[in-house]
Each structure stands twice: as C-alpha cells, then as structure tokens.
C-alpha cells in the first residue's frame, strides 16, 4: 500500500506539471497569484489518489483517502512552532446553534473552498482570507433534522466542480469558478427527517455521500453519484429490507425496517487497490428505546466495507449491537499497513463512540484488537466472538453520555511514530428510555439522558494501535469536540472547548504552543498546505476560519 501510494504520487506530480505546462515544481504556479480564472488545472482522480504529495493542495476531507489527516509538510517543527502566528481570520457571518463550524477546507492553486453552517459556502483567497464568491442555499422553513444541526463538513472536488450536500438532503455540483449550481439532486425527503452534512468522498467517476437524520424515522444509505450528470449509480441501504441479509436481526416488520436509522453522516475512506469504501453507520431508531427493535439491528453502529464499483457489502463489523445510547459509529476509518504479530497487515483503525479503540483487517473485516480508550463503565472487553462483554448497561452507575467516548471529529494517525491520536470525552450520564411517538418529520429519540456536567472532562490521547495502550494524554477542563491533525515533523494539532488551538509534541504529549481563537473548536480538524513557500495551518473556530503561519524573518 505504501509503495502504491508512492507510485501514484509520482504519477500525480508528473500529471500536475504536464497540465500546468510547468517544470517539476508545480508549486511555482502560486507565484502568479491566486485566482479562479479559466487556465487552472482540473483536479483529477489520480491527484486525489496521490493524496498530499502536492504540498500546495488538500483535495479531500482527510487530506487523502487513508483518513490519517497526516501531512508530509515539514516547515513547522516542534522547535519553531512557538513562532506560529495568525495571519488572517475569515468571519463567516453564519453560525450554528449548539454545534460547530465543522468543515475541512479544500485548497487548490491558492484558492480555498470552504463550506459553512446553514449551507453557506465560499471560495477564498488563501493568502488573505478574502472571498471570491459566496454561495448560500435557500433552505425551506420546515427543515427537520437540518434545523437542529445546520452544519456541513466540507466539499468534494473533481475537475472544475465542487460537490456539497445540503440540510434539505440534496447533493449539489457547483462551478468552482463562480459558485454557480451545475446540478442539484435530491437524496431523500427532508420532510421525513432526512438531511445531509457529510463531506462528499470523490472517487474515480463517483461522488460518495451519506445521510443525516438518524434521530428521525429514516433509513440510512450510502450513495454513489455520477459527477458529470448527478445520476445515482448505486445505493447501499444500511438497514436491510424485509428478507434481506441482516433483516433477521430486526423484528419481522417492514415499517420498523423502513425507519431503522443507521445514518451515514461522516465521510468514509477508500482503499484504491482493494477498491473498497469504508464507511461508518449511526444509531438505530429510536435512539434510546429498544423494546420495539429486539435484535442486533444490523447494520447500525457498524463499519461497512463496500465494493466501490457496485455498492455491494463486502464485510461489516458492528461495534455496538442493539445500541441504546445513540453511540453512532460515524467516524473516520483510518487506513494503514501495520506490522502485526510478525506480518504486515492492511488494517483499518477507529476509536469508537462506545469508548473502545478497534483495529480490523480491512481486507476481511477480522477483528484484530478492541480495547477501551476511555474509562468506560459500559463494557469490559470484546469477547472472542467479537461482541462487547457488557458489564454495565446503566444499572451500575453512570455511562458515557450520548455524545460518547469520542465523536465524529477526526482523529489522526502518524505513520512514523505509529501513534493514533484521538480526542476522548469522559462523561457520566443516566439514560431514561421512554416509548416514542414515531411521527415522521419529528425527532424520535425515545427517552431522556441526564448528564452530570460537573463530572466530565476531555483529553487528547495518544494510543499505540498494536495494544490499544494509552501512551500519553493531555487533559482539558471539559469534554471537547475538536479533531486532530498530525504532520511529518511529529507535531499534533488539536483544540479544546474553551477555544484553544494547540500544538503538541506527538511522541511525548508535551504542549508546545497554543492560541486562543475566542470560540470553541467544535467538530473540525486542522488542515495544512504550502503557499508562497510558507506552510499554512487552518482551523475553523466558532463562526470563523483562522489561518496561521510562522513569523517570517525580521517579523519578530
């Protein structure tokens, strides 16, 4: 896999250079200034596949298909990160209630493509943060799930097109020069409770998206669309239909299956060699009340591996069978090749909302490791059969709250240090289930959760993926919703609920730098790119996007 990545990187650089009519230093295109004019190179699948090999670009949610959110850039180091300063702030002018600015900007040729809350979006000059264009979708007044979490996690890009999902459950293609809509397709009926917030994952000739709204009477899906026309190529339902495989884990009732939840609201990852998509699924519906849905409720709270060509299920692993705590498994599945008990294994790793860190063989779905990374009181261990051994379903004191031991915000994996970094949440909650009304278009939680807000805290944790052991942690005063990014100099960028954007030494957890952004960092992970020879680091915070770079010589 690593060799494959390296090979495709070389291809990419050659392609980029050829397209731009430049020498090997494709980055020199930047010197002519940013712009969205007609001469820009189109973004190709091969370039996305080559990941972060072109340091001026960030082309997909996690930076590359592996989901590691690990940049090869080396200008900012543990020794100089104390000289990192804000160089501009973009005020979006739109904000969520109780949620965050969760996007990861994409950057191509000095232009940032950024989605925001309430389906705003912008093309920004990456040098200054000044806008080229703004897009704002007219949203219906009777939005369902989309009104309670009006967030968006980013664009996908291919050719000269940007792809964005909407709170009324549509997928749009925008012209990246103008922000004009090229096509607009409906994913599902928002009036039932469907919405979409995910950053699309662009493959070769496909735009992959999923739905939000698992708190409503919805049935989750993962879709592939034709980037040219918007035609749907395939759909995988995360909750089976009557008689289909997996339906035996539900009551024999078509209505329950048709509203079984299993939303797919977090961007997955992709192994181009295996041609498999890895995507997480959310809670079964209703969230807290399980009496109407006895059984494991496949494929809720699972990781599914889908054949990218057809959308057929290759394998699945369910983290939380018959979930009663809203512990969606909507995470970035992180791909890596690890030396595992004497042989190299292609693995997928994730830290789950249920408080366990998992390593699976990504070819077969075989569970290699499942260990708690929080001080969870829910399960003690994962049994030989791959199922959690539950020790406390609420009767023995408090449980992790409904936001879980971590959440969707991205983790990061540093392949050189071989450490997995995740923002963990330690909380104490009591669940009180109650039979819901199950009305289409209305939330259908099925109970109440009481959380002791005094008892919680957050922590950035470094995990050894071979053992699941905690190598170090850095504690925050309250549970925290910030994602993580690492770089090739062994830096870890994270954040907290009090608004600090923070850099750590990845090997030790030593805090090296922090900057108070003025608002909590809720949902996003940082991204980084080169521009004019300077490494930029960007983080969304509150309703702003803040860009950082090292102080230049003489600026001190």
């Amino acid at each position: 896999m690593n060799d494959e990545f390296a090979r495709s990187r070389a291809v990419c650089v050659a392609l980029t250079a050829a397209t731009l009519g430049l020498g090997p230093a494709g980055a020199s295109a930047q010197t002519s200034g940013p712009g969205v004019g007609g001469d820009l190179a189109s973004v190709t699948y091969e370039q996305i596949r080559a990941g972060l090999s072109d340091p001026t670009r960030w082309l997909t949610y996690s930076g590359d298909y592996s989901g590691r959110r690990h940049s090869p850039l080396t200008q900012i180091t543990p020794d100089n990160v104390r000289r990192l300063v804000p160089i501009w702030t973009f005020q979006t002018g739109t904000e969520t209630r109780g949620r965050g600015f969760e996007t990861t900007p994409l950057v191509v040729d000095g232009v940032l493509y950024v989605t925001g809350s309430n389906n705003f979006a912008w093309a920004l000059d990456a040098r200054t943060g000044r806008p080229f264009w703004q897009y704002r979708r007219d949203l219906p007044e009777d939005l369902t799930y989309g009104s309670s979490a009006p967030v968006n996690r980013g664009f996908g890009i291919l050719g000269d097109r940007l792809f964005m999902v909407t709170l009324d459950a549509h997928l749009l293609a925008l012209d990246r020069r103008t922000g004009g809509v090229l096509w607009d397709v409906e994913l599902a009926d928002y009036k039932v409770g469907y919405a979409a917030t995910v950053a699309p994952l662009v493959l070769d000739g496909k735009v992959i998206v999923g739905n939000s709204g698992g708190e409503y009477t919805t049935r989750g899906f993962i879709d592939a669309y034709d980037p040219e026309t918007g035609a749907r190529l395939w759909r995988f339902h995360t909750i089976p239909g009557p008689g289909e495989p997996g339906s035996e884990t539900w009551p024999d009732d078509p209505e329950i299956l048709a509203s079984g939840g299993g939303a797919t609201w977090m961007t997955g990852t992709y192994d181009p060699d295996l041609d498999l998509i890895y995507w997480g699924t959310g809670n079964p519906n209703p969230d807290y009340y399980g009496d109407l849905r006895p059984g494991d409720n496949l494929y809720s709270n699972s990781l599914v591996a889908l054949d990218a060509e057809t959308g057929t299920l290759r394998w699945h692993y369910q983290f939380t069978p018959h979930d009663l705590h809203d512990w969606d498994s909507n995470h970035v599945p992180v791909l890596a090749d690890l030396e595992w008990r004497g042989r190299l294994r292609q693995v997928v790793m994730l830290a789950n909302r249920n408080g366990f860190f998992y390593v699976l063989d990504r070819v077969t779905g075989e569970l290699l490791l499942g260990k708690p990374f929080t001080d969870t009181t829910w399960a003690r261990e994962i049994g030989a059969d791959g199922r959690p051994i539950v020790v406390n379903d609420g009767g023995l004191g408090c449980l992790p709250d409904q936001w879980g031991g971590t959440n969707f915000y991205p983790p990061s994996f540093d392949p050189a240090l071989e450490l997995f970094y995740v923002t963990a949440r330690e909380t104490c909650a009591t669940y009180v289930p109650e039979a819901p009304a199950s009305t289409p278009g209305r939330p259908n939680m099925g109970g109440v959760v009481w959380t002791d807000q005094e008892a919680g805290y957050g922590a950035l944790r470094a995990l050894d993926p071979r053992t699941g052991q905690r190598v170090w942690e850095f504690r925050y005063p309250t549970p925290t919703f910030a994602g993580v990014m690492t770089t090739a100099t062994g830096l870890v960028f994270a954040g907290d609920h009090q608004g600090n954007f923070i850099a750590f030494e990845g090997a030790t957890g030593r805090n090296l730098w922090h900057y108070q952004t003025g608002s909590r960092i809720w949902g996003p992970g940082a991204m980084t790119h080169m521009l004019d020879g300077r490494q930029h680091v960007l983080i969304p915070s509150g309703a702003t996007l803040v860009a950082f770079a090292l102080l230049e010589d003489g600026q001190e």
Binding site: R97, S148, E215, P436, M445, P477
Partner: protein, 256 residues
Amino acid sequence: MPMTRRRWTCVLVAAALVAPASAFAQGGNPYEGDPAAIRAGRALFANRCAECHGANARGLNGPDLTVLWARPVRDERVFATIRGGVSGSVMPASSAPDQELWAIVAYLKSVSTVSAAVDAPGDAARGREMFTATCVRCHRVAGEGGTMGPDLSNIGRVRTREQLTRSIREPSASVAAGFRAVTLTLPDGGQVRGATKSEDAFSIQVVDTRGRLQGYSKADLRELVREERSLMPAFAEDRLNQAALDDLLAYLGTLR
C-alpha cells in the same frame, strides 16, 4: 445561592402534543399547568435550549429563565421570543410547531421561581441592619456592596424562603457557577484566594477576595487548589440564631 451544585442536562424529544387547533386562537397558553405538556416541554427545552440556558433553566451562557416572570410579562411575549429569536444574539428563531413552543412556555412557567411575598416572622428593618453590617461586604443590593458573591437585588422574588435558609445555613451545599472557590500559589509563594470566573487548560480568571479581577497563566502557578467549600461562611444556629435568621429572611424577602 441555592443553585444546584451539579448542573444536569437532559436530552430527549418527546411525544407529540395533541391539542385542538382552536385552542390557540383564544390567546394565552393552552397548556398552562398541563402536566403532560410540561413534561414534553421540559424534554424539548432540554434538547434545544439547555445548552445555553442550563438544564434547570437557571442559565449558563444564556440568561436564567426561571426568573422570566419576575417582572410582569405575558406568556405570548415569551412565546414570541422563542419563535423569533433575539436579533443580534445567538438566540435563534424557531420553526417548531406552535404546540411545542407553548409546551416549552408551560414548562418554564412551571419552574419559575417567582415567590410570592408571604407573611413570615421576622423584622425586615433589623434584618437590613445585619445585612449592611455583614453580608454587604460580598453581596450587592441596588448597586451597593461587594462582588464576591451573587447580586441579591431581586433575590426575594427569585428564591423561596426555604432556598435562602439553605444557602445561609449551608452555603457549601450548592455553589453557583462563577462563585467556586480556588486558592492559587504564586511563584513568589504568595497566595490568592478567590472565585473562579473562567478557566481553560492554560489559564484561570478569578475575582480575588479583595474584589480584584485577576488572570493567571497556569504554567506560572506553583499550585492550584479547588475548594469544595464555598467562599461564604456557614451561618449555623450558634452564629445566627433563628430569630436573627428570620429578620434577615424578612429583609431579603423585600428585595424584589
């Protein structure tokens, strides 16, 4: 003051509410006092409002809503605020059905702590003298007094006699956010005691016992000790006998 020591949030979305549409044309809250609606309203509040207003509606980043009715206000006005949001603030508009907003209004009214003036023992004038001699060092009334403790200008309206009694006798039983005690040891060995106003992983902001606003970098502190006990001394029976307490309560009851 008698805020719950532990703040609880609750998330749930409740059963659909059923009420004849005609009920809404009459004015007023069709759900006032309706136990099912109040339960549903509490759940809706927990899901949509508690993040800012606190699980018990006593306020976090947003205002304390248990004192909404402390001044004469019509239910329709509360409804309209929820519907339209507050321009220029983070309080959003809502597009939820009327029934749900009325249920939230019914819930808020049910937890309203507006306490009626009651005939109770005690001499308010004597109580005022005690307050001026002791309490005013930390508590403010009508712009006069200290800032270490909560402002008590309207306390008689928003807290019951029982709640006030508990706060005076056992102040450590529940300390409001923003008034938690902390002792910091500075690099020179000097100590600062005060109330924590704000804190993150790197810094802490306190009001010290001399009323000064002080911010410290945690990296510069030798020690940071959070105290379980309130900064307010406990006034037990031996320190404040029942008759004196009655006087003080009578005075606090006039602060409306």
